[in-house]
């Protein structure tokens, strides 16, 4: 565990490095204790909430003096990404909050700029997904669901978020792991979680997949039945087995992480990683994470960059299988 002095030293080093650069942005940059957060989504969503929670915790822990949040929303983050890699290039005190959804959007939208052009700092949190059915459904376990899927995927309409998003990807991975062609699935996408839940409550569809938080209250009230979660192990307080326990070899987190812009020095990168590690270890952060039903899955530096590469390959394959990417 690093002490606060180390962080300050790291920040000072980053600051010094910034001042030696000739770019106007760096010259104008406030002391690195002032963080700039780039959110490639509209205010209110998961990335935005992550950024605002980060600001709150970092300030409370006195790791920064303040943060400025910039929202550039649209198309799963692919509208904001080029702006971050071009205009924010080399800024030592900047971070972009993004995640798995953007990996998928970059592939599906054939975006010219990809995450490999940024400097990956850390994976922070994840939301595991849940497979639910209406209370009156004949499916009692995920095995029942998969059996029906094997019999005729077209007869098992499943609702979730937008096409090619994490919910659709999980269904595709599940189908593939039990030998059903992902392209044959009857997936019913909804733009918002509320409408997807409504279609389940109204018995319009056979099952639903989304972040556990979207369904948790309905499950507690007995209106929906939770069949399985996509986490790696059972979660405290949730009485449902994982997909793996039920013989479906799939694990998926809708993860969120932070990225520094291109062209930051190795020292600046190290300082940023230290800052984030410090934040992610603080009780205030863990408390906020728990309140929002996020799972802390911290992974930093090179390990994160490696994970990002694997994840991109996995998503690309399944999007092709689903017929959404060429």
């Amino acid at each position: 565990m690093l002490s606060r002095r180390h962080v300050l030293l790291g920040s000072l080093a980053a600051g010094a490095a910034a001042h030696t650069q000739w770019s106007i942005g760096a010259a104008l940059a406030q002391s690195p204790a002032q963080l700039q957060l780039f959110v490639p989504a509209a205010p209110g969503g998961g990335w935005d909430q992550t950024a605002r929670t980060m600001e709150q915790v970092l300030r409370a822990e006195k790791l920064i003096t303040g943060a400025q949040i910039t929202n550039v929303g649209g198309a799963g983050g692919t509208v904001g990404l080029p702006q971050f890699t071009n205009q924010w290039k080399g800024r030592p005190n900047a971070l972009m909050v993004s995640g798995m959804v953007m990996v998928g959007a970059i592939i599906a939208n054939k975006a010219p700029v990809t995450l490999t052009q940024t400097t990956p700092i850390a994976r922070l949190t994840g939301e595991f997904l849940a497979l639910v059915v209406p209370a009156s459904s004949p499916f009692k376990t995920a095995k029942d669901f998969v059996a029906a899927l094997k019999a005729d995927p077209a007869k098992v309409p499943v609702c979730g978020g937008s096409a090619g998003g994490s919910d659709h990807i999980l269904l595709g991975l599940m189908a593939k792991s039990v030998g059903v062609m992902p392209a044959k699935l009857a997936y019913v996408p909804y733009a918002g979680g509320g409408q997807a839940v409504a279609s389940l409550l109204g018995n319009q569809v056979a099952a639903g997949i989304s972040g556990y938080g979207e369904f948790s209250e309905q499950v507690k009230a007995g209106k929906l039945r939770l069949l399985a979660i996509s986490a790696d192990k059972r979660q405290p307080g949730i009485e449902a087995p994982t997909l793996k326990e039920q013989g479906i070899d799939v694990e998926l987190f809708n993860w969120r992480g932070v990225f520094a812009p291109p062209n930051v020095s190795a020292d600046q990168r190290a300082a940023m990683i230290t800052l984030i590690e410090k934040m992610a270890g603080s009780p205030a952060w863990l408390d906020e994470v728990k309140k929002r039903d996020w799972t802390p899955i911290l992974l930093t530096g090179d390990a994160y960059a490696g994970f990002l590469q694997e994840e991109t390959a996995r998503i690309e394959t399944i999007l092709k299988d689903l017929g959404l990417a060429a």
């Binding site: 509209a42 205010p43 209110g44 935005d48 909430q49 605002r52 709150q56 550039v72 929303g73 649209g74 198309a75 692919t78 509208v79 080029p82 599906a108 939208n109 975006a111 077209a154 007869k155 309409p157 937008s162 096409a163 090619g164 009857a186 997936y187 019913v188 996408p189 733009a191 918002g192 979680g193 509320g194 409408q195 839940v197 409504a198 279609s199 409550l201 109204g202 319009q204 569809v205 948790s216 209250e217 309905q218 507690k220 009230a221 209106k223 309140k291 929002r292 017929g323 959404l324």
Partner: protein, 507 residues
């Protein structure tokens, strides 16, 4: 009586001086952002979310509810005066409201929309108080097939705004379909008509289209004809507020608009636009003075849709408070505020947080009263805008439309789109194409497409579900009757031979 005692508790929360103040701040702010085309309640609440760390949950939700209701009031003002809808739910208001303003009845149009909003908002809030559990179970019966049939019914409204030539009206409608299709297709994730521009992937905003066609198009048209006619300032006719006749023409549309708006707002995919379309067509059919529609402006065409959009705003709260389901962008952001207090919104919300929920409902009643008190005196002030000489007024409208559009997503592409559409709007006016069908097509087209494809995915490609599901079939029959009923009636009359009072040579 349990409901009443809990509501009384709610009022004791809402009437605390602090919360009254938050309500006033919310309603004022809401009215202001409703007036601006770019700022909507969803964005405003999202930006105010950090406030939830500082104040009690009750205060934050009372503020948010005030903003939400206030935006519904404010949106109609610019629709009526400047033909520049501030919200997508007030696009229909511009159709008759602006015509009324041009014939000197701006005050009456503003008054009927403010009072109608009050009536509908209050009845709608009562609906939330007493009927929520019943309404929500009915709303959940609506699946994709039913929604598609509801859209088909809503398409009948197009016939009410077609104008003189059906071919021109339908051409406008199809232009709307095209504009609505731009962007990523929700069902397959593939981009359509985006010409490789990432900014177009999320589609075109209906506000940009409405402001471009209505406001910018209109401005160009006026500028082009500037030397053709004299510069006239429309004098105010009759009373500033409503005359006795206007009152008697307004109250029924208010009630009918509420009856249409509340249940559709409560439906998970209902929205606020469809009820305004439906209310408009109902009022046009029932009006004793149909000749005023589209010419001098009919007050029924303002009163009904305005009541409908406020009632639907109340309806949206039904699934949110009873099931924890956010069915509009604004509701979704309000729910995320619940989460920052560690409150999980869901079907148990009413049991676990009664003080909060009933305080919120009570403050909706208060917000409605505040809004009508706030807005009625402003009518006198607003109508003076029309006394500004045309060149200044229209330059002002252009600035206003441009700034507002830029505010939506800070994207220069939106501005280009606004002026291209303004040019198209000008040409459409010049060659007598109606612009309203474009907006109707743009809203309804993609919704109808999405619901149809969802219905087909669920049924495995069997389109007979549209007729075999009773609710869906009933809606289709209603749509058919509304479209062909009058014609069939006419046909039967002529079949039966000339009526007794028919004199030869009378044709």
């Amino acid at each position: 009586m349990d409901t009443l005692s809990q509501l009384a508790n709610g009022f004791s929360v809402a009437f605390s001086p602090n919360n009254l103040l938050w309500c006033l701040v919310g309603t004022t702010l809401g009215t202001a952002i409703g007036v601006l085309p770019g700022l909507g309640p969803a964005l405003t609440i999202a930006l105010l979310l950090p406030i939830t760390f500082q104040v009690a949950p009750e205060a934050a939700f009372i503020l948010f509810a005030g903003i939400y209701y206030g935006a519904m009031y404010g949106g109609s003002t610019t629709s009526i005066l400047l033909n520049t809808p501030g919200e997508s739910a007030t696009i229909v208001t511009a159709l008759e409201g602006n015509k009324m303003a041009r014939s000197g009845r701006a005050g009456a149009a503003l008054a009927t929309s403010a009072i109608g909003s009050f009536v509908a908002g209050t009845i709608g809030t009562m609906g939330v108080t007493f009927l929520a559990p019943v309404v929500v179970s009915l709303a959940l019966l609506f699946g994709p097939a039913e929604y598609f049939s509801l859209m088909v019914l809503a398409f009948v409204t197009v016939s009410a705004v077609l104008g003189s030539s059906a071919v021109r009206g339908l051409a406008s409608l199809f232009l709307g379909f095209y504009l609505g299709m731009i962007g990523i297709d929700l069902q397959t994730g593939q981009p359509r008509f985006t010409f490789g521009l990432t900014e177009l992937l999320d589609g075109t905003n209906v506000i940009v289209v409405a402001v471009g066609l209505f406001a910018v198009g209109e401005t160009l048209y006026v500028a082009a004809r500037r030397h053709a006619g004299g510069d006239e300032i429309v004098p105010l006719r009759g009373s500033l507020y409503m005359t006795r006749e206007e009152w008697s023409r307004s109250w029924k549309p208010w009630l009918r608009g509420t009856a249409i708006g509340f249940p559709i707002g409560a439906m998970p995919a209902g929205g606020a636009e469809i009820p305004t379309f439906l209310s408009y067509v109902v009022e046009k059919r029932l009006s004793k003075k149909p000749e005023e529609f589209g010419t001098t402006g009919a007050i029924e065409g303002v009163a009904g849709p305005e009541a409908a959009n406020n009632a639907s705003a109340a309806g949206v709260l039904v699934p949110m408070l009873t099931l924890g389901l956010p069915t509009s962008a604004t509701a979704a952001i309000m729910l995320s505020a619940f989460q920052s207090y560690g409150i999980q919104p869901g079907p148990l919300l009413l049991d676990t947080q009664p003080a909060l929920v009933w305080g919120l409902i009570a403050s909706l009643y208060v917000a409605n009263v505040l809004l009508v008190v706030l807005n009625l005196p402003l009518v006198g002030l607003w109508v003076r805008i029309l006394k500004i000489p045309a060149p200044l007024l229209y330059a002002g409208i252009l600035v206003f439309a441009t700034v507002g559009t830029y505010g939506i997503s800070q994207s220069p592409i939106d501005l280009i789109l606004l002026y291209v559409l303004g040019g198209i709007g000008f040409l459409m006016r010049r060659f007598d194409f109606p612009t309203a069908p474009v907006v109707i097509g743009m809203i309804l087209g993609p919704m109808a497409e999405t619901e149809f494809r969802r219905a087909m995915t669920i049924s495995g490609g069997d389109w007979t579900v549209l007729f075999t599901q009773p609710l869906s079939a009933a809606l289709l029959v209603l749509a058919f009757t509304a479209l062909f009923g009058p014609r069939l009636y006419h046909l039967i009359r002529t079949w039966r031979g000339p009526s007794p009072d028919h004199v030869p040579g009378d044709a």
